[in-house]
């Protein structure tokens, strides 16, 4: 049980990643695939946060001299996640705009039917 408790964020993160990946793999509606990618992104972000997270840790700010750095959560992953989120948003936006164009061209979002480029 303690394993679950200790690693709950990791489990959650990888759960999200797997869900996202599975969505990408299994679904053939483009929007759902994009959603899957988004979920995966979220999972990754969670994973990164979890790396730096300390249970009962404080914010990594030296607000007063007595704050011990050992109790602070790691600030670097948070910075990373901020960047990653930005990138994820950019990709999502691009993906959705492409999806719109794709629908205009093909009249469908079913990836099984969008197979003009192959071999």
């Amino acid at each position: 049980m303690s394993f679950l408790q200790n690693n709950i964020y990791y489990i959650g993160a990888f759960g999200l990643i797997m869900i996202g990946l599975l969505t990408v793999l299994v679904k053939h509606n483009l929007i759902k695939v994009i959603i899957g990618l988004s979920i995966m992104d979220t999972g990754i972000n969670l994973f990164l946060i979890a790396i730096g997270y300390l249970r009962n840790g404080t914010a990594p700010i030296f607000s007063s001299p007595e704050v011990e750095s050992i109790l602070m959560v790691d600030p670097v992953p948070q910075a990373l996640v901020l960047t990653a989120i930005v990138i994820g948003v950019a990709v999502l936006a691009l993906a959705l705009s492409l999806a719109i164009r794709l629908y205009k061209h093909f009249g469908t979002l079913d990836l099984h039917k969008i197979k003009e480029l192959k071999w």
Binding site: I17, L37, I44, V91, L102, H105
Partner: protein, 488 residues
């Protein structure tokens, strides 16, 4: 001494200046990339003597590594940066006339972003920074692939995007693991600490990172986006994607594997992977009737060859691999650029529609021929020294397995030759429709001639590049000096 940061800062800044410049003067827009890349090229050349002496390490924001983000401008990085600026310059000259319709401003902006990302990847010394630049590279290439907004472009772009995003997600997970294990993102720092951790722990992050970067660098099972994207992008972008983007991916893989992990047990596996990529790429190209797809698959093959060369991890093979890489950038760029105008003239990408192009566009056809010969590795073009070095380096290892792999390399060269010669025959010796002779525009011709001269010069006097490549290869292979020069 000039600051190498400018290599990234100037194109990045100018990229965002493009809309502003466009609003000021519509004509000037097209020349922004030319100017920026010319600047970069000159910068690179000026940096060469200094870099050959000692790698330049720039600490951004004044934080010393391992805490801050640093740029590492070694011979290898500089080689790539120079290559990117050179190829970028040539392609931007080509684009002056080639890109006329559509959102031109965005094209130039994205184009420069792409090159900024590429330059960043090769210069950075920080894993996450690498990821960020990588994403810049990827996102701008997703958008550029879809530049024409036609069916094929959009379709390939979305496919590219899905795979690329999955790949960068994997990369990010890998980086997360690494950070979790070492608590640092500086590559030199990680490299130094790597021996303290048990090998098997590192396997998962490594394979995740390799897979993530492998998607961009088109290693065999991860390269499905490439033929689509390269074939449906505008030819100038195909040239850049083929000549720069996947090479940069390969650089990242090599950097991670050699410098960061540096565990030699796995090299042979990469050699196998390289050969597999090579064979599959060449065979798929062999079966193509669409010229751009053929060229795209051929890029996969070349990447496999370069990967094989790098994976053998001796000074000779890596030098050969880098030579081949340079050659591939030039030749494939030349091929895509010349094919671009031929397709433009004939209106179809089928090889059969290029019949008799030699009469209609002699110079463009000549450029294609030179590119093809060079890529196949015929002397006196640039492909031969590279192939010679790779094979001699590989045989010098004297292992039976590697000798067999070399045999496969030579075999795949024959396949490669076959499909290129087929196209050349179509260009010159088959009768096409009797259209009038009309050359490509002057800017495109300039670009192609520049590449041709480079290819022939490299082929005739390979020593010109050999010394530099040799120090680049030691930069890649010599992990300790990398660590030492970063961490002082």
């Amino acid at each position: 001494m000039v600051n190498p940061v400018l290599l990234i800062a100037v194109p990045l800044g100018l990229a965002f200046m493009v809309p502003l410049i466009d609003s000021a003067s519509r004509k000037l827009t097209r020349f922004v990339p030319v100017a920026a890349l010319l600047f970069n090229l000159i910068l690179c050349i000026r940096l060469i003597p200094a870099v050959l002496e000692n790698p330049i390490v720039i600490n951004l924001g004044g934080f010393t590594p391992p805490f801050g983000i640093n740029l590492f401008v070694g011979p290898l990085g500089l080689l790539f940066a120079g290559l990117i600026s050179l190829a970028g310059l040539v392609v931007s000259i080509y684009s002056l006339s080639y890109i006329k319709n559509g959102p031109v401003v965005k094209y130039h902006m994205l184009y420069m972003l792409l090159l900024t990302g590429a330059t960043g990847v090769v210069l950075t010394g920080d894993l996450f920074n690498l990821f960020v630049f990588f994403e810049i590279l990827c996102i701008s290439s997703y958008a550029l692939v879809a530049y024409h907004g036609d069916r094929a472009g959009i379709e390939s772009s979305i496919k590219y995007l899905i795979q690329g995003t999955v790949g960068s997600g994997l990369l990010l997970i890998g980086i997360g693991f690494i950070y979790g294990i070492f608590g640092t993102l500086n590559m030199a720092d990680i490299a130094m600490k790597i021996a303290t951790v048990e090998q098997s722990t590192l396997f998962v992050p490594m394979i995740l990172m390799v897979a993530g970067l492998g998607v961009e660098s088109a290693i065999f099972p991860l390269n499905a986006w490439l033929p689509d994207a390269h074939s449906s992008a505008p030819s100038s972008i195909s040239a850049i994607l083929s000549g720069i983007a996947i090479e940069v991916g390969l650089y990242a893989v090599a950097r991670i594997v050699f410098t960061v992990f540096g565990i030699s047990d796995i090299y042979l596996f990469f050699a196998f992977l390289g050969i597999l990529t090579l064979l599959i790429g060449e065979m798929c190209a062999f079966a193509q009737s669409n010229i751009k797809r053929m060229l795209a698959y051929s890029s996969i093959g070349q990447i496999g060859l370069i990967l094989f060369a790098l994976a053998l991890a001796t000074n000779n093979t890596v030098t050969g691999g880098l030579f081949q890489l340079v050659n591939h950038t030039f030749s494939k760029g030349l091929l895509f650029l010349s094919a671009g105008y031929m397709i433009y003239r004939s209106g179809s990408m089928e090889i059969s529609s290029l019949n008799g192009m030699g009469k209609r566009m002699p110079l463009t056809s000549l450029a294609f021929t030179v590119g093809a010969f060079s890529l196949v590795g015929l002397p006196p073009f640039a492909g031969f020294p590279g192939k010679f070095l790779i094979v001699s380096g590989a045989l010098l290892k004297g292992e039976m397995v590697i000798n067999i792999l070399v045999g496969l390399v030579l075999l795949s060269t024959v396949i490669e030759g076959t499909y290129f010669f087929r196209v050349i025959q179509a260009l010159y010796f088959k009768d096409g429709n009797g259209e009038q002779r009309k050359q490509a525009p002057a800017t495109a011709v300039t670009a192609m001639i520049a590449l041709m001269i480079l290819i022939v010069a490299l082929g005739v006097y390979p020593k010109f590049l050999a010394d530099f490549l040799s120090s680049a290869s030691s930069d890649l292979l010599d992990k300790m000096s990398y660590v030492g020069s970063v961490l002082k």
